[in-house]
């Protein structure tokens, strides 16, 4: 039941989520971070994709935890 509710909340807020503002920052941070560690373009892009994946994953985990806490706070 909780999963359904969580999915519904995510879909409903999909387009007007403030999280979209994180996208330019994630792209810039991962590209710059990767480029300061490699010299070859291919290596930079591969490392940047990995960094972006980890940042997004971390943000998703935090998002789910906060949704869960919010659900608990509103009485379950």
């Amino acid at each position: 039941m909780f999963n359904v509710l969580l999915a519904a909340v995510c879909v409903a807020n999909f387009w007007d989520m403030n999280l979209w503002y994180a996208v330019p920052a994630i792209i810039a941070v991962s590209l710059v971070y990767a480029a300061t560690r490699h010299e070859e373009t291919r290596q930079i892009l591969r490392h940047a994709a990995r960094v972006a994946f980890w940042i997004t994953g971390f943000m998703l985990i935090v998002f789910v935890v906060l949704q869960f806490v919010s659900w608990l706070a509103s009485g379950g």
Partner: protein, 204 residues
């Protein structure tokens, strides 16, 4: 000076100090000087893109709360060291170098009671509506444009720009912090895979 990113790649860092200074001045300029064109382009586009997006988000043509002027441009980037308004965020923003410099000029002009330039671009806001009105009342010439009484207060910025004021601060700070990594890369080569100077010394 030379650094290695891989056993087969030798990077000519030229004068590392000059490169680091240029990298701070304009993101990517240090790498351009070193002939590392692809990285120069990546750094310039990413960091300047982020910084300019922040400047754009904190710009608005909306009127102030009392209708005396408009919000203006680049309000999230400003320097202030007044009591109750220590602008620590600017220490991050100045990491992008020249693009954040107008804020220093504007802060100096505002502090010395001279008219701010460029319609208040990157000028520090008044701390509150009350402070601005009080300054206007105490002024010898309340309508004197040099008093900067048409500049917004922090209340104006939060009420008109809403969350974009904070977002813009976030983007511009991230841009400045990222450029510190870039400065290091221009000075010493890639961080992880480049043993740099130590190896160079051993080799010599």
């Amino acid at each position: 000076m030379q650094g290695n990113s891989a056993p087969s790649t030798v990077i000519n860092l030229k004068d590392a100090g000059v490169a680091a200074f240029l990298a701070w001045l304009i993101p990517g300029l240090g790498h351009l000087y070193q002939g590392r064109y692809a990285k120069a382009a990546v750094f310039f586009v990413c960091i300047m893109g982020l910084f300019l997006y922040g400047v754009y988000l904190s710009s608005s043509g909306q009127p102030l709360l009392d209708g005396q002027g408009t919000i203006g441009a680049g309000r999230a980037v400003y320097f202030s060291w007044r009591p109750n308004d220590r602008r620590w965020a600017y220490l991050c923003q100045i990491g992008v170098g020249l693009p954040a410099m107008p804020a220093l000029v504007q802060a100096q002009r505002m502090a010395s009671h001279r008219r701010v330039w460029w319609d208040g671009f990157m000028a520090p806001p008044w701390l509150s509506e009350q402070e601005r009105k009080k300054a206007q009342e105490l002024s010898v010439a309340p309508n004197d444009p040099n008093g900067n009484f048409d500049q917004p207060s922090l209340q104006d910025l939060y009420r008109r720009l809403h969350r974009y004021f904070e977002l813009a601060g976030f983007y511009t700070m991230i841009a400045g912090l990222l450029n510190i990594l870039v400065i290091y890369d221009a000075w010493a080569g890639p961080a992880v895979s480049c043993p740099g100077r130590t190896e160079e010394k051993k080799a010599s």
